[in-house]
Structure formats: structure tokens, C-alpha cells
């Protein structure tokens, strides 16, 4: 079965080569960072987490988003998702792999990472994050491959895997909830200290994950002649659209609570993200995230509108555009604003901004490429197996 990934056209090999090259650059950049220390990044005493942890946070969402593709098929027997469910599980594998790589990239002493297991600390949310992320990776690898290999052999998946499939559903919710708890349980970081953080994480995840899958599905339709089907796409539009709307509703709640209560701590980061914030001790205005955050909101709203329009007009091009808009909007919202914004202002109410370095961006690109590399191989496998099994069905 695995040999299927070795058969591909020029486009397939070209794409893999490109990814490998970026991965190589990322590895070199990581070596630079490893030898110099995390000072090779743009992080500082006041902004102690940067693009690594924000990518991690966003990608946990992408992984959890796989739930929206798995749940209808297994729990509600929604047959139209037959071609998409496995894609969702495998997307989760690639996303969790990226998450783990981003965590390692962010550690000051990566060689000691095992200390988390050697000295288990159940009071730390990071301890639970380790458990849920590795557990989710395990569950998806198990379920994904058992289901796929059953399909390869032309049989229904065995019953013993069912409990694992059902377990993976609440588990998907848990990974993003625990990730939100990393932030929202910290006193003194007002922007994160909100009970709607976990729900908002889930809402944006349930939009961003399926949106990425939709884009990939549309690409595969063109390049691999693999169509997930109109019904599945229409249903995905509903899922992405409503999840995105809920995310904006929750963002609106945050804005209301901040500005109506008029509590400075609750307004500071929102000010910083959308309007810019003045450091009172220096009088300098800091606003380098403002264009991104405003673009994020605009792209998100336009994306939602376009998404439903695309379904009505049955336009794949518009559908792809709207999903890219939503994905990028939520990437900015969570992959930039949420983590970086939370550090502004600093605990001593200074405003220190963060700008990633080239080293950091290269490592980040390398990790994303590794993720897409894994994703490509897995999807190649799924497409090949699905085609074979469907062809056999037609003949018989």
C-alpha cells in the first residue's frame, strides 16, 4: 500500500522537491538558532513567545478542525463525506506533527524536552497539552491507517477501531481547549484572561481547518483528478461559514466587554491590535500589527460572504478564494494577533513590539514545509487507495 507514494507525475515530484528544499533551509536556520540560542529570533524579555508558539496555537486548531470532517461521517453516518473523512484525519496528523516541531523549535533547551515526562507536573497546562497532542496524533495515525488499509483490502474497517474513532472526537475538542487553557489561565494577561478563549479557539479552528481542506480538495480536483463531490463541498461550506460567523460573534463579545466595561486592562491589547497603543513612559505609538488585524477582519467578513455566494453559483474558483481568505484571516487572528498581542503591554505596562527575524521565519517555513510534505505523502496514499477501491467497486 505504501508503495503508492512512490508513483507520481512530474508535478508531484517537483512539489516534493520544492518542499524538501525549504525544509533544508529550515534545518540550516534551526542549526543557527541552536548554536546561538533563541536570541537568533525576534523574541525578547517582554515578548517571550513569538511566531513559533503562535503557529503552534493556530495549527492545533487546524488539527482540531479535522473533527468537523470526521464527526458527520462516523457519528451521523453522513455518506457524502466518505472521500473527505480520511483527508480530515490525515490533515490532523500533519498539523499535530507541525505543532510538535514548533514546540521543540521554541524550547531554549530542546535536549531536555523529556523533562516534561521525567518530572510530570500535573499543575501545568503544558503537561496536559503534551498528553492530548501526542494522544491525538496516536489516535489519528491509528484510525487513519486502519481505515485506509481496510479500504485498500476492500473490506469495512474492523470493529475494534470504532472506540478509538469515537474517542478521537471529544479528543479533538480537548486539544484546542487545553491549548486555550495555556493562555486563559494566566493572571495578569488581560487579553487572554477570558472564558470565551477556548470557544473562540474552537470556532476559528472549525472554520480554518475545513477551509484549508477545501482548498486542498479543489487543488486535488485539478491536479490529481480526485473530486470529493459537490454534496461534500456544499456541506463544508455550511460548516466553515457558521464556524467563522461564530468566531466573529465571539470576537464581538470581546470587543463589547472591553470597551463597554471601559477597564483599561481589557482595552489595551484590543487598542494595540486594531488602533495602536502609546507607551506612556516614552510617548511612542506602537501599531505594527494594526494593518494585519484590520485586514484579518475584512478578509474574514468578505470571505464568509463570498463562501455562501460561491455555493449558490457553484463556482470552484470563488469557493477556493473565499476559503483562502478565511484561512488567512484566521491565521492572522490566531497565528499572529492572539499570541503576540497578549504580551502588549508588558506586565510593567511598557509597550515592546516583536518582529520575527529571518532565521525565525526560515525555521517557520521549514516546519510548514515539513507539514505539507507529510500531508502530500498521506494524501497521495489516500487518493491512490480510494481510486483503486472505487474502481474495483465499479467493475464488480
Amino acid at each position: 500500500m505504501v508503495d503508492k507514494i512512490l508513483k507520481g507525475n512530474g508535478l508531484y515530484w517537483g512539489w516534493l522537491t520544492l518542499l524538501l528544499m525549504i525544509m533544508g533551509a529550515g534545518a540550516v536556520a534551526y542549526l543557527v538558532q541552536f548554536n546561538y540560542g533563541l536570541g537568533a529570533t525576534g523574541m525578547s524579555r517582554d515578548v517571550t513567545w513569538g511566531i513559533y508558539i503562535s503557529q503552534f496555537t493556530f495549527l492545533v486548531g487546524v488539527a482540531a478542525g479535522g473533527l468537523m470532517l470526521v464527526l458527520p461521517y462516523y457519528l451521523h453516518d453522513y455518506k457524502s463525506f466518505g472521500r473527505i473523512t480520511l483527508l480530515g484525519e490525515f490533515m490532523a496528523i500533519a498539523a499535530v506533527a507541525m505543532c510538535l516541531m514548533f514546540i521543540i523549535a521554541d524550547l531554549g533547551q530542546p535536549m531536555r524536552a523529556m523533562n516534561v515526562i521525567l518530572h510530570p507536573s500535573p499543575n501545568s497546562m503544558l503537561f496536559y497539552d503534551m498528553i492530548v497532542l501526542n494522544g491525538y496524533l496516536f489516535l489519528n495515525v491509528l484510525c487513519g491507517f486502519v481505515v485506509l488499509s481496510s479500504e485498500y483490502r476492500g473490506i469495512k474497517y474492523p470493529n475494534w477501531v470504532k472506540p478509538f474513532i469515537y474517542l478521537s472526537i471529544p479528543w479533538a475538542v480537548s486539544i484546542h481547549t487545553v491549548t486555550a487553557f495555556l493562555y486563559c489561565g494566566l493572571p495578569g494577561r488581560h487579553f487572554w484572561l477570558t472564558a470565551v478563549l477556548a470557544p473562540r479557539f474552537l470556532a476559528s479552528a472549525f472554520a480554518a481547518g475545513p477551509a484549508l481542506l477545501m482548498v486542498i480538495a479543489l487543488i486535488m480536483k485539478r491536479t490529481a483528478n480526485f473530486d470529493v463531490g459537490q454534496t461534500a463541498k456544499d456541506k463544508l461550506v455550511t460548516i466553515i461559514g457558521y464556524a467563522a460567523i461564530i468566531n466573529f460573534f465571539l470576537l464581538g463579545c470581546e470587543v463589547f466587554v472591553g470597551y463597554y466595561s471601559n477597564i483599561p486592562g481589557h482595552m489595551h491589547t484590543l487598542d494595540y491590535l486594531f488602533f495602536g497603543l502609546v507607551d506612556h513612559s516614552t510617548g511612542v505609538m506602537h501599531n505594527n500589527l494594526v494593518p494585519f488585524m484590520r485586514a484579518s477582519v475584512a478578509m474574514g467578513i468578505v470571505g464568509i460572504g463570498m463562501l455562501f455566494l460561491a455555493r449558490k453559483q457553484k463556482s470552484d474558483a470563488m469557493l477556493a478564494t473565499s476559503c483562502i481568505l478565511i484561512f488567512v484571516a484566521f491565521w492572522i487572528d490566531k497565528g499572529l494577533g492572539l499570541v503576540l498581542g497578549g504580551f502588549v503591554p508588558s506586565p510593567m505596562e511598557h509597550v515592546v513590539e516583536y518582529v520575527p527575524t529571518v532565521v525565525e521565519l526560515t525555521v517557520t517555513a521549514g516546519v510548514w514545509s515539513t507539514g505539507f510534505f507529510i500531508l502530500t505523502l498521506l494524501y497521495k496514499l489516500v487518493v491512490a487507495v480510494k481510486r483503486d477501491s472505487e474502481a474495483t467497486l465499479k467493475i464488480s
Binding site: L38, G42, S44, T48, L107, N115, P122, N123, G188
Partner: protein, 277 residues
Amino acid sequence: MDNTRRKFLKLAGLTAVAGVTVPMLGSKALAADHGGGHAAPAEHGGGHQEEAPTGVRQGLVIDTGKFHDNPGLAEKCQKVCHDYHNVPKFPTSKDEIKWIWTDKFPNVFPDHSHYKKDDRMSSMNILALCNHCDNPPCVRACPTKATFKNKDGVVMMDFHRCIGCRFCMAACPYGARSFNWRSPRGSEDGHPFIENYNPKFPTRMRGVVEKCSLCSWRTKQGKDPLCVEEANKEVEGAMVFGDLNDPNSEISKVLRNRFTIQRKPSLGTKPSIFYII
């Protein structure tokens, strides 16, 4: 194998739940008159009252007025601390490491009103350091117990164990923690980051978090922390160190007689550093 691991994790989870709930079920008795609770602003009511003390809880009182009247004293305290502990000095502020430093009133006490305050207070440079909270969020966040509260109530760092995840830095509401973004033993343009190594104390390595340890290596011998010793050398009573839970300690007497404030009391971290303004 996997099964035993899962069992263990389950057990660990249950332990965690138990660990969280037991102290909550415990006595919520209001602090006695010598407790730290008196510093909580009155309008917050009883919510921020500290529980009845148990064990040793080392703390500090900083008399900001005495530092204001003696310019340069705070800097001397910082120097003696940073010199002894081999704290490196980096040319860029983003790499900065500090255990004890000064800032203005609105920055040290952002929660307190600083509107139309007197000129003296507005111009004051106030010492800031780790608050050695009785309820430290950094300790809660640490995934390896590299930072923990010791028997003297001091929040310690075990540099051998720290993996450099910086969760504690995100958790600390006081900006008291620094990270070794690069090797403290290095140099730039011929200037070593540590000018004179103190052979009695280790340096740190890159990739770990560090902060004030309230000189636990000294206080065990019955001495005051370095900053306290340095400050009192010039101005008696500029800083007072002692056990907050011992009603007869000097610090408890000072706290009974003077009005003091703590940093960000509303967060429930119960800082052990008190300020006479």
C-alpha cells in the same frame, strides 16, 4: 506498555484534580492581624484576604521613601546583586537579564491610581524584583517543576531542569523573569557580557530562565539577602527582610506599624514584597 502509561496518566490527572480541590476545601480563615491581607484595597472586600499563615514565608519590606532620599542606593543594590550572581549585561535591550531593577510608580504599580499624584512619587524610582508570591502563577505553569516554592516560601529556580519553554514568563504578572536568549558567557565587540566572574556563584547557560532567589544560599546562614544588606549599610531600615508568618519578626513589626502596598494584589498571587510609599 501503553496501557500502563495511560493508567499512570489517568492517575496523574486525578491527583491533579485532587491537588487543586483540596486547598480550596481547606480553611478560608481570614488572616490574623499580622497577615499580609491588610494591603488589599478596601473596596475589594474580603476576596483578597490571605489565609491564615502556615510555615515560613520570607518576604521584604522596601521603604521607597528612603531610596528616594538617597539617590543611587537602588543602583548599588542592583550592582551588588548582579555582580555576585554573575548576571550578564547585554548590549541590546531585547536580551536583557535583570534580577532587581527600578522603574517608575505607574509601571511598578499599574493597578494603582497615578493621576495627580505628588511630584515626589511621580519622580520616584522604585525597586522591582520577584515577588516570591505565596500563590505563584509561574510555579503553577512550569511543566517540569524547574521553578518551585521552597520551604521558606521562596520561589526558586532549578537551572538544571529548566527546558526554556518560557511559560513561567508568560505567567508572571510582574515581569520578574528573564531568559538567557544567548550565552551569558559570550562577548560582543570584545566586551564580555559578564565583566568579572564571581567564582563563588555559577553563571547560567543559554536557554534557561532566571530570576531573584531572595539569596536563599545566604539567608540559610542567617544573613540578609545581598540587596538588603547593601541598602541597610547606608540607610538603616531601607529594606527589611524576614519571616512574614512569624509575628515577632522585625518585618512583621514593621508591617504592623506602617501602611504598605503590594503589587497587583487583585490577581490573588499574594506577593511577599511590601512597599512603604
